[in-house]
Symmetry: C2
Subunit: 261 residues, 2 copies
């Protein structure tokens, strides 16, 4: 069944090396995390410490930290409260070989968000714009948000394309975060004033989307998320915004890339 | 943002109960495991014990036990050799809400398969019929198969539809296994004699597949797998086969369900 070699085996695969992290791999890593609507969450089963995996809806906080909404009845909530160490596998395969599609494993420490805290309001608002159907149960007292703070990550861009990404490279450490978090809806409104049907234009221009009804679901110092039903796209700025006027100006420039109507 | 209740909160969700396992949930659990082409694998990082997750191609052994093919260079191989406890999350979401789609978490103990053993030959043959492209690297000495023997499983059939499935319910404990494993290709050939383009007919009749070129990729005492490119379907017998003649006869009866040409 196997060919080659005098002992009937082919030679061993060359030792795969971790490639040096470059702009393209960082960009891919961030997109996989920030564009995801769901992920596989790996935790330790309470008491036994046995590895466990479940599917979770994901969003991001304004600093890029992945967030999940979890029921107190779920195994993963019990697990995260007992041991905050966890991992998220992002990146869904499309057609063809599932291993040819990029994915990233992010090792995280989970932080439970207290109900009605400032963080809860901010995260809830962002999450429910991304996942409107989660409104059905997000207000149940049993449910709480968790921030899954990245510590390190393994990016697999496809066969033999492995990279180590630092946790810091997935976190948006911007002095603008507090301000954006406090008035994200206002800022999104300012963006929408920049062009009519801005989200539709971005969806069509950058992602070849033909349908309308796109909206801006999230904004942070690294870029914006646009959403429509079960689809989500991420637009990353070339450079992280350094002030709020600059942020709006950056997006204003983006609009200049579009042909005039 | 949240409505209802005098404190601005709606009442807590009713405690979700684990539903009693019935034929439908068992059938769903088996289909999710046996029809999968890939899964999220959860393991413990060696040395740290931190949970880790990765994407793996999956197949099944003749007794229904999930199998993976893994490189010695991968984190999950190192992890499984250090601690065999692992979990597989099966069941890919389709369109719409990812949490509305069924999935199953199977807690497993991993067993590495020795190269050139009888088990290796059997598992390799089954796996490569399911994943022909894996031939590119399956013969590398660095790669080995693992059986991930189910110990227990959590089935989530969609919101509020939770079931506990025993490991034994996912294993085909049939006296026919050795015989099927030793001459699976012959038996598949016998099946194919039962009707011309049998796999195509099954694909069309049971799964509304319009394209041809389907083939039988696997056979066991509980049913057969049919494959075409990146697609895989599982056909489960109503009752587990009890002898090999009966097995062929069962499939022969299945064929009677088709209209005559």
């Amino acid at each position: 069944m196997r060919g080659g070699g005098s002992d009937g085996k082919v030679e061993a695969e060359p030792k795969s090396v971790i490639r040096p992290t470059d702009d393209a791999s960082l960009k891919l890593a961030r997109r996989l995390v920030r564009e995801a609507r769901h992920a596989a969450l790996s935790v330790l089963e309470p008491e036994t410490g046995h590895p466990f995996a479940s599917r979770v809806l994901t969003g991001t906080d304004v600093d890029g930290v992945p967030v999940i909404l979890a029921s107190a009845l779920s195994t993963h909530t019990k697990a995260l409260l007992a041991d905050s160490r966890s991992a998220l596998l992002f990146g869904e395969p499309g057609r063809g070989d599932p291993l040819a599609w990029p994915r990233i494993t992010v090792l995280c420490d989970a932080e439970r968000i207290e109900h009605d805290s400032e963080s809860d309001d901010r995260i809830r608002s962002r999450f429910l714009r991304r996942h409107p159907k989660a409104k059905l149960y997000a207000s149940f007292l049993d449910f709480a948000f968790f921030r899954l703070v990245p510590k390190s990550a393994s990016l697999n861009g496809g066969f033999g394309r492995a990279y180590i990404i630092s946790g810091d490279d997935l976190i948006i450490a911007s002095p603008l975060n507090d301000d954006i978090g406090a008035r994200e809806l206002y800022l999104i409104g300012e963006l929408e004033k920049l062009g009519c049907n801005l989200a539709n234009s971005l969806a069509e221009h950058y992602f070849k989307e033909k349908t309308g009804n796109w909206y801006i679901s999230g904004l942070d110092a690294d870029g914006i998320d646009i959403a429509r039903k079960e689809k989500l796209h991420r637009l990353e700025l070339v450079n992280r915004a350094t002030d709020l006027n600059g942020l709006i100006a950056e997006y204003s420039n983006v609009l200049n890339w579009f042909p005039k109507n």
